[in-house]
Symmetry: C2
Subunit: 387 residues, 2 copies
């Protein structure tokens, strides 16, 4: 029996699953959505509000925290949970993805990656070993290996090299993880990341090699970076067919509400995405019927809550008209209310799927979602939805 | 007996007083500090947080709300409390002060003031009657008369004209107040504003004339606009000597913590100021030992709360080091925590004074405050403190 993850239900019509992930800071019911706390805070929200909206686990970004305030500060504070007053489980990425997307003048070789800070241009490097060390200092419950995420599109040769490097780095991370003692009085765990671009054979190679290393959990990385949705979900399907049933699967950086439903249908247990807070800060909110932008003039005298079905603090107390006013007047409370609503909505969406999986009705739940939710996408981003 | 205001205790060593102000939306223990909700929200805070930090009544600014979202929108929403989900008492100013300080191309004559919006340059006018009408639409528990606030310094002749106009306008506001029915199912009240610059004789003339009009409450306006602190408090003393004992007195737009203590000592019951939220958003916080700016490098590894004596949400959960990190990283939560702390501190300060007045120990309370609190002022702003 795997103490980290217990698989409790598997859907009969899809690969959807419900389970329990147990960490030193508490248990998490999966499928789960993880809000992103890039710099040690989920933007616009307090830890109490996160508990209120139903967050079970949040993310921290190693790249950002390493640069500011610095891993040594977080370590001296007693770890990221202690520093930020978030008492529940926390996951940190390795920093690799941010190095590829944010940092300047990065140079990747087999040893690791050298980069310049996007904040002050200072020079730094990450190796598989150092990212484990940094995540030891941050004290996350779940840490991630350093991987190489090639851009989309990229050549097959480059994607293959990135898979080889990702496997080699995963091995070094696992070795360092076992060799380095924890800095705090609780245990941590580490997940590997499958790469391989949108090439089915490479995805299989990557997943197979990492499964051989027997990691406690696995992530699917390198997706949602511009590739068409059908290719994305094909890759997810390939990965979840190979990854062990008794270990958690995490689809990194995804996604829109419909992406979560589709990921769950393909056997993914964990999701993270900045959308609910990033879009919320711009006035875009999610509801069971689709998205809306509260800045629109149409809401000027709309006395309804954002979503009449919603039980969040924003919907229980404020009208669209008032929140529109707050956005127009550039008041912080507007961003706060939209973010509270959006994160609550994401948690409710995943909870509905989880409940349905447990009751054997996930197929109905998925159909019901599409019946009400208006999806706005460009044609090549349309998901292949096989109901 | 005055149903609006009950004077419960008067200090024997000073003019300090404790009372109860009763409005349609609840009772207020005075002295009271009123946070400023300029645009229908106290910046960075939610209504629930305001209740949490101990706010009994908050302000709304008529000038801002009239321009955006517009008084008619607030009226259709059911009034400012309904619109903003603040269920407790609310006070609105008349908009006059903002016209003088924010609007462009203002022209004042005996009829009223014509101005251009600072938002879009559109042309508007306020008359004594129209500001009452707007405040009827906003549905504040306490509305304020339109007054003329001359700049500091100004000629004696101009200050005298402003006093005459302020008296005439107060009379017209009171007539309009009695002639206009409320828009909602609760009653409102209206306060007059004493002007007179820093001229003792003019202050007396203004106060005497307004007292003759028998308003339910009185404000002291036109202060804290650049005049030296000794002159400011001399004017407050003159006014509170004249204003009726059985009616509430409100010192508009004040002030720093020491100003509140000195105002209370001179018989003021109500205060409002943007300082706790404006300074909080910049990282400046108040504590029983003085002010500090949390952005300072000295707090990098300071694991203490902002104020070890404080029981607010920020101090119960977060270190100076973490909040400093939030400010450096420009995270909204930093501003939120500093504002929560500052408003809580202001309420605690006034509550300590109130409790001391009731127990007959205000003098000790005032000395104790100065013993611990380091005041940073320029020499000409130094308060005359007679202990």
């Amino acid at each position: 029996m795997n103490r980290l993850f217990e698989l409790r239900h598997t859907d009969t019509h899809s690969k959807a699953r419900a389970g329990t992930l147990t960490t030193a800071h508490g248990s998490i019911q999966t499928p789960v959505f993880m809000p992103v706390g890039t710099q040690g805070t989920v933007k616009a929200l307090s830890p109490d509000e996160l508990v209120d909206v139903g967050s079970q686990i949040i993310l921290g970004n190693t790249y950002h925290l390493y640069l500011r305030p610095g891993a040594e500060i977080v370590e001296r504070a007693g770890g990221l949970q202690q520093f930020s007053s978030w008492k529940r489980p926390m996951l940190t990425d390795s920093g690799g993805y941010q190095v590829y997307s944010l940092a300047d003048l990065r140079k990747i070789n087999d040893d690791g990656v050298v980069f310049r800070s996007h904040l002050d241009g200072s020079s730094h490097s990450f190796t598989p070993e150092s990212t484990v060390d940094v995540q030891r200092s941050l004290g996350s419950d779940i840490m991630m290996v350093l991987d190489e995420c090639p851009p989309y599109p990229c050549s097959e040769a480059y994607a293959a090299t990135a898979v080889e490097r990702t496997t080699a780095w995963a091995k070094r991370c696992l070795t360092q993880f076992h060799a380095s003692p924890g800095k705090f009085d609780f245990s941590q765990t580490i997940f590997a990341i499958v790469q391989g671009g949108t090439l089915p054979a490479l995805r299989r190679t990557s997943a197979d090699a990492l499964v051989q290393l027997d990691f406690p959990g696995y992530a699917i990385g390198g997706l949602s970076i511009g590739e068409p949705k059908p290719a994305l979900f094909e890759m997810v399907d390939i990965c979840t067919d190979i990854l062990p049933q008794d270990k958690p699967r995490y689809l990194m950086g995804m996604g829109k509400p419909e992406d979560l439903v589709e990921g769950i249908a393909r056997g993914v247990d964990m999701f993270d995405c900045v959308l609910p807070t990033r879009n919320g800060r711009k006035g875009q909110v999610f509801s069971w019927s689709g998205t809306m932008n509260l800045r629109n003039a149409g809401y000027k005298e709309d006395w309804r809550p954002i979503d009449e079905q919603c039980g969040c603090y924003a919907c229980r107390n404020f009208s669209r008209s008032y929140i529109r006013h707050l956005f127009r007047a550039e008041e912080i409370l507007g961003m706060r209310l939209a973010c509270i609503h959006n994160v609550f909505f994401y948690h409710q969406l995943v909870a509905r799927c989880r409940d349905a999986i447990e009751m054997g009705s996930f197929d109905d739940c998925r159909r019901e979602f599409y019946r009400n939710y208006e999806i706005r996408t460009s044609p090549n981003q349309m998901a292949t939805i096989s109901l």
